[in-house]
Symmetry: D3
Subunit: 230 residues, 6 copies
């Protein structure tokens, strides 16, 4: 059955905003090394870092009709997540749909398919993470669903989850885990900030992390290069 | 037989210039969703948008001799199109050949293979769309042909056809279709401009395109998120 | 046996500095079209061009422990080369390790795996060439070796070899060949500079390189486009 | 938290057995074109067709420890489903684990990673669908979970779901949908059997499916090849 | 415009039959190393070797309607060639369509997309060369064309051309070149048969082909392994 | 310089013969999880298992001249290893070269490129592991070297090393390590044989390997499926 779920519960906006400041790598570590979408999901331009609540779209291959349906379900602070039911590189999304999403305050698009009008999207600074850039047009013939759980680029995403995206890729945080993940990010970054300062001053990670003993236990051998190697 | 065809008929320069303003996605739609080269053809730097008349080169794998032959057949407003007869990522093209093409007023290069000297080509703003960036050198041993029909990145290209290329990829317009395609691009963009304004003001595509009735006919169901989902 | 070789002989710093000015394509040609790493090794940002002496790391898949060990073996002018013993796209390297390497004067990283914290590395202008951008964390459980010969992205690299990297990719120059390769680069560039000037003035490569006779011997045919082709 | 769920509810064995007779393509169609795993999941030998109830394993990249844990949770009629949390082609599974699974009556393995000992597995006719064949060994250092929901090759799989696999690939049927999907498979095959007989006798699909009128409405034009095309 | 061309001229059946005995590699060499489809086109089972006259289908991505239309245009001795206008791995073809083609005497299918029902097609010995095996269903919504020139897996194919396919892949021979290509295949194989006998008796290709002098001219050096290498 | 090294020292024939009985996975483990060639190296037919001493060929892309040179350097018990200096899928090798190698007692071919005449090679049971099957012809224009160290599919191979290949892929054993690796294979297989028997009788790996305690230490939790999950 094809269904549009209206007003799914969303993660708190404050949690999403906080995760945007931490970025993908930290968020992924903070929730136990889970939640990454596949490495082939790349931004169409460098430098964007966003987080927002997911509005999800499950749609057929080479058919973008349901994206038009999904726009109406979006509100300010959302990120649109589009997952075809079969792999496709077609260009489901371009500058007209972006204009519509921007009018609603949507923060970006995550699409496990192709996107086009890159020049316009870049000029408008509307960030997109996609598996392909391809101008191939799509049809509007077959229904799908909006705000159902989807698998997008290998990750399970529920409507209302937090999506974090930056130059490192895309990470999903389950809605109920968002607040706790923010806390862990803060703790992790605090710890890393101290380490970073020591490393910048030239201290070695071997000492900062106290690795030397365990390396020796495992049997790591140091030796000088033999003279004949010179 | 290896042959160089001199002075093939070319699409009108005005048509090529006009298509450059419309870009790949619009051109592709305007000619009935045909003409796209494969999505793996990517620009070496962002932001270029060109169109020009094709000078085509069919050459053996890992051998760039015929590109030197093709330069002589190029004139101002052309785009060089290079297609090996067998897949290759070798670097057939670099800054010296670019200098030669720029001296003749050639607008860019489309090559279903590798390219090198990216730093110099970028500094000179000579746009290239290629399947790979790779420094591997080629030899000059075996003949090919110039200005014969070629299959480049999955698309059939005749000499004199219009090549349109931008951040979305590359599209070919058959020579005799160029003028008609410009007309259709203009009509399409006029229509889209009006839609774009409405979408920017916040109207929904569902209403602008009048999709609601057909969605209902197909059986799309709307329902509110269940409380227990919260 | 897992071993860390201290103070391997390194190519002369002057040779590395000189090769950085010539870049990957010229270096590759100057040493007889050898030494290129696979084309999938791409820079995380455009425009960097470096050369330095290799400190090599052989490590297990999905485990970055040995990078911490390798940092201590690095000195100013080095380039860190990381090669997993089995293919992996995991993110072995991020901004903390970069801070540590920068504190020691290391010029860049070559890694046949994934890298993360792209935003920070770009802001710090620490150049990395990698096979993937991916935030997936790694563990610190299994030993590897430092400063042993490694195969990285298809190329054999010994500690102390010169690594040259720019927008075209990455090239290795054997330590004992570095000085000779510089000489050949200089000679090649001198020759190319003269050719470049002639090509920029509009002379054809066919004439500059004297190719016409050999093309005719091989049987290349020129003919005008038939009228019916118009 | 790493957890092993014991005795999850399983789809009825009769439903699994029935789906094995229908195969992947029919099952996929019968449940509305959903449930397929990615096309890169290929059998290690041709001709196997199985169905069984899923025991799922989520584990770290390059670490197969949890497969040993999962074996204990398997019973006759199960299919083991293994999904690393990050992409890996390492060889997580070989003939010893197969011996263990066969001793418990497990029907096959679905693994979004690599497998090895192909020769032995083939001789024992233990069917495996995998993304790679690769002998690379794995470690036993890091925990994962057994019988939690996993995303395997792009599909969401819960413990107890039915897995159907044959030469066409792999399809998952949600546990509660298994009985209904069997009914739909039976209905579909009955319909197809009648069509198949007519097609074998030489009737055209155009007539059997009554397509001619709709094709004409859409504007399909028939014409004879022009004489000059001869 | 979407069009079905009826009764295009076909290459002589005798030529197709002859080319089947020579196979892909010989045919490709005999026509000057041209005509190969991309290496990703693989047979669904080993050992088939066919040749026949092409009936071509150009159709939209993820839509197999036009295959049903094309069946009517097929006659005994044909090979069906299917090329989507945009890349797709969907399963456009299965056992019902195969039953229909076999009833008409079609020799096989070449499809630059996915195929399913591999088990049934293998049992029926209906040979298919495809880019993917995938069960994903397609729709029947959008028109395409039959018996127009298509680019299939990188090769230009006209209706009536000869398609040769075996375990090495797929090759196309232009209709008017078929007879001449047969002659060249026969000549080539006669020459190779004599060489093969000499090689089987232990003569070296270096002598049979008289390569030693040219190798020496090019500067090839022979030397014995140094004792210290032992 | 292009060179042919005659009579390089070879690993003992007995060691190679022994490794063939152990196969790739065991050999790879026995030498510390090293030596595997990339997973894309696949056999052209299933079921072959060979080992032999390497005769190595380094040659240019799309040029197979040096294979003819290498044949003369082969003797009974060798395996030919071919590595282009730049990636290529061209068909460097077919039935004529196979006839020549078989006449000399060569056991198989490892080629990081394409191969053709699959039908004939299969009929003759001449085993080949390659990265592609492709009929594209090559030229004979440019020299390379024979019996120099090569990087083949990511692995460093010296002439005289042992090559082991079976359905799992390809593994290289350094010449001087061959005897010791045989010993370790024997020890490993003895240990595995005992384990295999216990597993076949239904004992669990958890008990056979004594894993339960360490799993508990790491914090693995077992719990029964909740009733509401049913």
């Amino acid at each position: 059955m094809n269904v549009v779920i209206r007003n799914p519960p969303r993660a708190p906006a404050l949690a999403a905003d906080a995760l945007a400041t931490h970025g993908v790598a930290t968020t992924h570590e903070a929730q136990g090394r889970t939640g990454l979408l596949a490495a082939y999901m790349r931004p169409i331009f460098a430098g964007a870092r966003i987080a927002g609540t997911a509005v999800t779209v499950s749609l057929p291959p080479c058919d973008n009709w349901m994206i038009h349906v999904a726009v109406e379900q979006c509100q300010a602070g959302d990120v649109l997540v589009v997952a075809p039911t079969s792999p496709s590189d077609a260009g489901y999304f371009g500058d007209l749909l972006a204009a519509s999403l921007m009018a609603r305050g949507v923060r970006g698009l995550i699409i496990d398919a192709g996107v086009r009008d890159i020049r316009d999207l870049t000029a408008a600074r509307f960030p997109v993470w996609s598996r392909a850039i391809f101008a191939q047009g799509t049809v509007k013939e077959t229904l799908g669903s909006v705000n159902v759980p989807v698998v997008c680029a290998g990750a399970l995403i529920h409507p209302g989850d937090v999506i974090v995206a930056d130059d490192d890729g895309v990470c999903v945080v389950p809605r109920r885990e968002a607040a706790r993940t923010v806390e862990r990010c803060v703790a992790r970054e605090a710890k890393e900030a101290a380490v970073r300062e020591r490393l910048k001053r030239g201290e070695l990670g071997l000492d900062v992390y106290g690795m030397r003993e365990r390396l020796a236990e495992r049997g790591l051998v140091y030796r000088d290069a033999a003279p004949e190697e010179a």
